[in-house]
Symmetry: D3
Subunit: 279 residues, 6 copies
Amino acid sequence: MDTLTLKSSIIHFLKEDLGSGDITSQAIFPPDTPGKASFVAKTDFICAGMEIAAEVFKTRIPHLQYESSEDGRSVKVGEEVFTCKGPVLELLQAERVALNIVQHLCGIATLTNSFVQNVSDLPVKIVDTRKTTPGLRTLEKYAVRVGGGYNHRFNLADGIMIKDNHIAACGSISEAVNRVRQHAPHTLKIEVETEDIDQVQQCLEAKVDIIMLDNMPPELMKKAVTVINKRALVEASGGVNLMNIREIAETGVDIISIGALTHSAPSSDISMKLSTQTP
Amino acid sequence: MDTLTLKSSIIHFLKEDLGSGDITSQAIFPPDTPGKASFVAKTDFICAGMEIAAEVFKTRIPHLQYESSEDGRSVKVGEEVFTCKGPVLELLQAERVALNIVQHLCGIATLTNSFVQNVSDLPVKIVDTRKTTPGLRTLEKYAVRVGGGYNHRFNLADGIMIKDNHIAACGSISEAVNRVRQHAPHTLKIEVETEDIDQVQQCLEAKVDIIMLDNMPPELMKKAVTVINKRALVEASGGVNLMNIREIAETGVDIISIGALTHSAPSSDISMKLSTQTP
Amino acid sequence: MDTLTLKSSIIHFLKEDLGSGDITSQAIFPPDTPGKASFVAKTDFICAGMEIAAEVFKTRIPHLQYESSEDGRSVKVGEEVFTCKGPVLELLQAERVALNIVQHLCGIATLTNSFVQNVSDLPVKIVDTRKTTPGLRTLEKYAVRVGGGYNHRFNLADGIMIKDNHIAACGSISEAVNRVRQHAPHTLKIEVETEDIDQVQQCLEAKVDIIMLDNMPPELMKKAVTVINKRALVEASGGVNLMNIREIAETGVDIISIGALTHSAPSSDISMKLSTQTP
Amino acid sequence: MDTLTLKSSIIHFLKEDLGSGDITSQAIFPPDTPGKASFVAKTDFICAGMEIAAEVFKTRIPHLQYESSEDGRSVKVGEEVFTCKGPVLELLQAERVALNIVQHLCGIATLTNSFVQNVSDLPVKIVDTRKTTPGLRTLEKYAVRVGGGYNHRFNLADGIMIKDNHIAACGSISEAVNRVRQHAPHTLKIEVETEDIDQVQQCLEAKVDIIMLDNMPPELMKKAVTVINKRALVEASGGVNLMNIREIAETGVDIISIGALTHSAPSSDISMKLSTQTP
Amino acid sequence: MDTLTLKSSIIHFLKEDLGSGDITSQAIFPPDTPGKASFVAKTDFICAGMEIAAEVFKTRIPHLQYESSEDGRSVKVGEEVFTCKGPVLELLQAERVALNIVQHLCGIATLTNSFVQNVSDLPVKIVDTRKTTPGLRTLEKYAVRVGGGYNHRFNLADGIMIKDNHIAACGSISEAVNRVRQHAPHTLKIEVETEDIDQVQQCLEAKVDIIMLDNMPPELMKKAVTVINKRALVEASGGVNLMNIREIAETGVDIISIGALTHSAPSSDISMKLSTQTP
Amino acid sequence: MDTLTLKSSIIHFLKEDLGSGDITSQAIFPPDTPGKASFVAKTDFICAGMEIAAEVFKTRIPHLQYESSEDGRSVKVGEEVFTCKGPVLELLQAERVALNIVQHLCGIATLTNSFVQNVSDLPVKIVDTRKTTPGLRTLEKYAVRVGGGYNHRFNLADGIMIKDNHIAACGSISEAVNRVRQHAPHTLKIEVETEDIDQVQQCLEAKVDIIMLDNMPPELMKKAVTVINKRALVEASGGVNLMNIREIAETGVDIISIGALTHSAPSSDISMKLSTQTP
């Protein structure tokens, strides 16, 4: 959540929503009418992204006064999660972008937290994937952490993942691992996607760091975990949902990665109340 | 879906996913290994965004050969919706961004279509809102059209919407409408958000073009429609879902706007199959 | 005149004028010599854009102290319209860009005001067009408003204008209007360009919102106004100048659009006086 | 007129005019309807910027076929100056930006040419200034050359101009020249602004390369030219117009700089004719 | 060396060198004079970056014909390493940027190769650091690979490096490692900087993946290697030069990182010969 | 060293080094732990670029408190040249970029100063060339000035340099000079590259402002200086190093240009000490 990177995105988002100007509000409010805005929860959710909302408003109101709920907190319907003061005209022009972001991030944190709570008594990490909304990856991965999850690699450069096509092109897992060891920075672990126990065995021989069990049925996962026997991290992936997460976690895998955290979390419902103030 | 605007977004998205490079694939594939990629449906959905996928691949493969399913078509699980050819290295580096976009757009088109089908025998339009994902508004609004919906305003400049805060600041609906008429281009219609029949009456007196019925119960909507009697377009908004859409539509409103179309549509499941080709 | 959008333009303009640096002033002034700059009118004009000038100086002098004449005021030769303080080096490096902008905007406001004054006793609005200087549309349209004019659509998305080519492609005005009604957001009015009374009649049948009379002689305009009889807004366009504006206005049209407001207004003459100050 | 720099400006201009899309044309034209566009002169002018128009259309139509009148040619009303082919939808979306640019550039070339013709029998160069439209300097200075004029410095870095404030800060012209000689690249000539013969004398003693006579009456210019006696280039500046240009030129100055060339040239009138073609 | 990222950098570099245009060449060459350019070695070096040179020229000459020496090849003085054809004007405007890049990259590859050759019989990898030229990291790290070296992490996100300040803030190496394990993606190895054997022991207890020996004298390194005994990768860092590299390598470390590869490699001398061609 | 231009470069550099975030430091430091950073000299050098370092830190720490050594000062090993305060997390994320810049600029200033000291008793200027690192030209040319050198042209637009290819294309030096005089702004001097006395003579006849002696042996330079006899500035160029600079200077040339100043200066060694503070 580096503000450096965030600022140019926010300006881009604000321009998208503003077009050539807020025709309605400009006609009605003089530039200096003071106001106060509050974000109010219309459903329960895990709070995420309130500092991002603050950054959106700061882009328009340089010395913004604001208060915000702490990210990660469990919020009940009716609670205020963010309040700030500034010219009404600026508040209205930031409203939609700020809401669109926090509703999305709270949605992700809330869904992530459902998965996390489901397996909280087991030694397993819930992680995200690269199946994120284009342009929002850093924010969405932040929301996953807020919800109690962990992050998988951020992009193609900060994690090595050898998949079926890579293996096929090399002829074998060991050859694929060798080529990658020759090329990649030594700071990155090597992860290989496997479909059966034979591939798992090849991974162990090639001394890979992480073995992904791709779309395996739980009983096969269990067997793979036994075979691997702590010699590599074990990641389960594919078709994970709230119905089967517990069964998967109980196979003993270390990590479960879930694309739905970021690509299918419904938005949390939040609305902005605005009051005009006497200065 | 103007390609001019699209191209810089796509480059931004590709850089987000690429970071300092696809370490894994660069270690394994020489730059000129030819391949063929297919997008395969893993669920049923309404096809949307295939030309955007093509633009993503074109960014990396200048003279791309591709075939794609027509947007708007109802796709069944197992069907190929997009195929293209090019260097494997380029295909892999475009894969995730292309999939993330089309899965999202197909999800929106599919959800929109569910709403549209529900009321297809009634003279009502399903429209979206400004509750879109930051950075993706144009694409998401395109997907709504593909799904059979219509678009509400794209940004704060191409539609006038007088809300409760505007009315409060002016003292009355008529004063708010007057101020806007003085300021806004004559090319824009004036829409006013109302909460009760009294406000609807004020709108009619002020000769507004569109009256939004905000979060009214269906019986009140019905009454409002009768009062308005074709003197303005009538838009229903707030809390619309697949359970209540029909009841709302039957009140006789002209337009129903639904934020969930763009902010809560789950992603459609699509995967990319890759085959290496002899040149 | 949203500052968000403005700032990146101003930086672009300053870089254009600066190149790799103000070689002359850097050789002569130490970075901290304080100074005071005044913009002085060399002719009479309508003041426009002084806050934009302030934004230009603020880009270089973060906590700028300045005073400026109110936009819209009628300024006489010799008056100071803007004064600010800051390091001489920064003042000199902002001078030319700030002057180039305000001279241009004052020119537009002044020309617009001449048209407006000419017909001030008639119920007609003077509006601009899309014939603006590339990159400066928002600023130029602001200057038109300052001069007492109104704005036509800002871009191709926030107004519908059906022209001869559109009509020809559809076969008839009614078909063109139908296609647009199917596609466009319901928040936009529909305007159609007409050349004769027959087309005006077709517009009325198609219930368009605005009828543009394109390059019609005044007597034909008068007839069109009578035919339309308040059933649509009437806009006159084409070849309007200070000699014929009154005759056109007297035909009873509601709106007169004039490209020359923005594409042919001569610059108002303003110069910057600089004095070095003891801190 | 480097295309590298031009392209990003053109994209910026097109986005400004397009907003979220050409709602009207998209509703009416399928993306592949072929058409032909012609730019037709509605007044006489000097042709300038036709390759820029081509670049605008190329941004939307990659392999554009076009023909254009040569820049610098004297065009008569009714002539076609530019024709191109492509999808109607793309032609319409490029039309306004292309016209806005060429009308502006033809206006500048035409005005410049009037000045140049006025003194064509005298050994004097007409040059522009930095009083250009922000964002368009390179294009406007190109149009000045097309009209027969020459360019003064492009920005603060590629020419040294010592003005009254610089002189005042240094105490004398010679000290100002010394400081600049110590600091500036040896590739740049040194120009000094003077107000009277005494300052001209000081310039000669300091061996400056160019002496600007700022707002001097013609008789004083004549005297200055005699005093300078070819020991430096002589530039006349300030208040030059078509009425006094000849008198100024006859004083024997080498160069006359005129801000109005770029800041007050009225746009040349050009319109686009569009015909739909069978492919 | 992803072309996507490269292109915008190259355009930025070309604009830096071009300013408002190549005044000299534009005065002399018509835009279509054909020419041929050759890059000729003025010293011996390892060839690196020829495809980047090609990208520079392609930015100006769309369908460039070129031939280039293979990166990694040992080039002798007088050899041609790159030739291409195109308009002389475009060749001259790309020349300096292309040369500045390849001279720098060849310099880095050559210096890297000197280090690599020095220890080519030992099982040690030479790697770079983050001490790169701002804006050129990806290119410089590519040149290191061309010279036979390997890459350390590309940025702060794709490698974990716990340094003295991190350890001090946590109180102990084990606490620092714990905190990082809780926060960081599981795809990244953990590297810790150590100054003495005690810290090395703590690293082994914390099961870190990579132990950096920071500025240790060779005898201490040797001892550390023995203590570690293959339980972690060992990286030597600090003050490495061509005089001491062999002694360091002989301590048995796995990796030697050297900042000088990228921050102090002298440029290889290459010049461009240009010949004008008959078309 | 205009901060306007600098800021966007610094943000670009920081993003390059940050990637998707400083994984290590974010895991360890809370955002508000205060700290103090000092840059300490590890070798002797001429200090250059400390204000740039400050700008880097300011990008992350808005109201930065800092102290810095004056640029141009001769610094001894062990001295602190820059100190600042701020959150440790921000200091660590700015560290590498700030150091990479100042180490490079101090290296350039130091090498430049060696050349300058060598000929400090002679009336000759040491100047740089366009052989700079892409993206860093303005900063590198600043460092040359700090080291006591002067700047040659910044880009192709702010100096005229007629080279062998230009001459060949025109048939003669005089024709090349004529064409340039017709085209170029009158504010620029004309420099011509020569290889022998005959060409020098042609330059004198064409009254060029600067004659470059390209790769001439010292005795030939001496002869050229005599022939020119103050009628033009004389610049020596090609193969200049610390061994031959004095001999070249003694030929009487006015200017010696040296590419190595910017393309081959080894980085000065500077490290950052960080201490955590109680607030």
